[in-house]
């Protein structure tokens, strides 16, 4: 076993891709008012849970997809810390540039704003590092055995759903749609989300679907895979809505309606997003 040190220029290129990915996926979020508000409205306990879930998602993503082909658990953790740190720094920079962080704000307001946005930025950075590079680094990834299995599918689908849907999760629009919508349309949205997700995973020959979706042996497998996809979708959209305080004082109908409305983009994230961030 020979050791070699990665050239500094390679690391720089990797960071550049990471920052591109972080900005690409989360600049809309960094420019959204409700996100700034969420930073000081959320209680510290919620922030801690959100930050922790973000770290877990990054760990899962780095473990299953990560840029280093031969990595140990420790390297995965180091990679995660690095991405989260870069996420915090990048978020702080953009928020400062756009005048959302000023010196007369309390430290708890500033840290809240940064933490709320940094989770998505960090996932974007991780995806950018792995996916936005040219294909010649992929050589050893292809050789490696990476059979699709259920834990991997769950972890990556959650990352995809959060990456895509957290841009709109805290906005007023989700609540407005959910409160005004008729019940049959709500059902239709759920139905459309399931169908589109199922088509992406099993029918449309989507990039990466051959490799990363377990081959269905029967119609039942297709159905099961689609149901799991939608279950992940609803769980992640409910989690995001809860975190952004959208469930406060809401009736059960309202909670379900908002989850389904946000579930539309989240389902795209859990199907198409999931395949794109690991192909």
């Amino acid at each position: 076993m020979t050791d070699f040190i990665i050239p500094v220029s390679d690391s720089l290129k990797e960071y550049a891709r990471g920052i591109t990915g972080g900005l690409l996926f989360s600049l809309p979020m960094l420019y959204t008012m409700e996100l700034w508000w969420a930073g000081f409205i959320a209680s510290p306990l919620r922030l801690l849970i959100y930050f922790f879930v973000g770290i877990l998602l990054l760990l899962a993503y780095n473990h299953y997809v990560g840029i280093r082909s031969s990595h140990t658990l420790l390297e995965g953790i180091a990679e995660t810390i690095e991405e989260m740190g870069m996420g915090l720094l990048l978020t702080a920079t953009v928020l400062w540039l756009s005048g959302r962080i000023t010196t007369d704000m309390s430290f708890s307001e500033i840290s809240g704003k940064i933490i709320v946005e940094a989770v998505t930025v960090a996932i974007g950075i991780s995806v950018g590092k792995t996916q936005l590079g040219t294909s010649d680094d992929d050589d050893d990834q292809e050789v490696e055995e990476r059979e699709p299995h259920i834990e991997r599918e769950l972890g990556i689908a959650l990352c995809g759903a959060i990456l895509i849907a957290s841009n709109v999760a805290p906005t007023e629009e989700i609540a407005v749609i959910a409160l005004e919508i008729e019940n049959y349309k709500l059902l239709l949205i759920a139905f459309v989300s399931i169908i589109i997700g199922g088509i992406i995973l099993y029918y449309s020959n989507f990039k990466g679907s051959k490799q990363w979706v377990r081959k269905p042996n029967s119609q039942t497998d297709v159905l099961a895979g689609t149901v799991i996809m939608y279950a992940i979708t609803l769980t992640s959209s409910a989690f995001m809505l809860w975190f952004f305080g959208r469930f406060n004082g809401l009736s059960l109908h309202g909670i379900i309606a908002e989850s389904i409305v946000l579930g539309f983009p989240a389902a795209l994230g859990a199907s198409a997003g999931r395949l794109l961030i690991q192909s």
């Binding site: 076993m1 070699f4 500094v8 690391s11 510290p44 801690l48 989260m84 307001e109 840290s111």
Partner: protein
Amino acid sequence: MAKEKKNWLEWVVLFISGILVVFTLGYIVYEIIFEEQTSPDIVVTYGKIEQKTGYIALPITATNKGAETAEDLHIEVTTGNGDNKEQSNLLFNYLPGKSSVKGWVTFKNNPDPAQFEVHVLGYSIP
């Protein structure tokens, strides 16, 4: 199989990131343990009146001494009494805990600087 080793740049990035992540986690845990989630407590102070074009303005600073955020904060300032009484008010969208916001209230007549009465009308909890 060749094993990749980190170069100095990656160690530096990892080190700084490590500090940032540990500090962030530490700060939230500190807030959970030591900072009581108190409801908003608004204190309003005002500065010196200034003559503007056609009106007189009074700078206002509202500080939230509680930990929770106040939303739609209405502040009313009254000056004078009897026939000279004049009222003015101001709305702030959000005032986060332990933070302050600044604004101006305006009056038509020349108010007596010693006679301002500030009143926090109300706010909601987001």
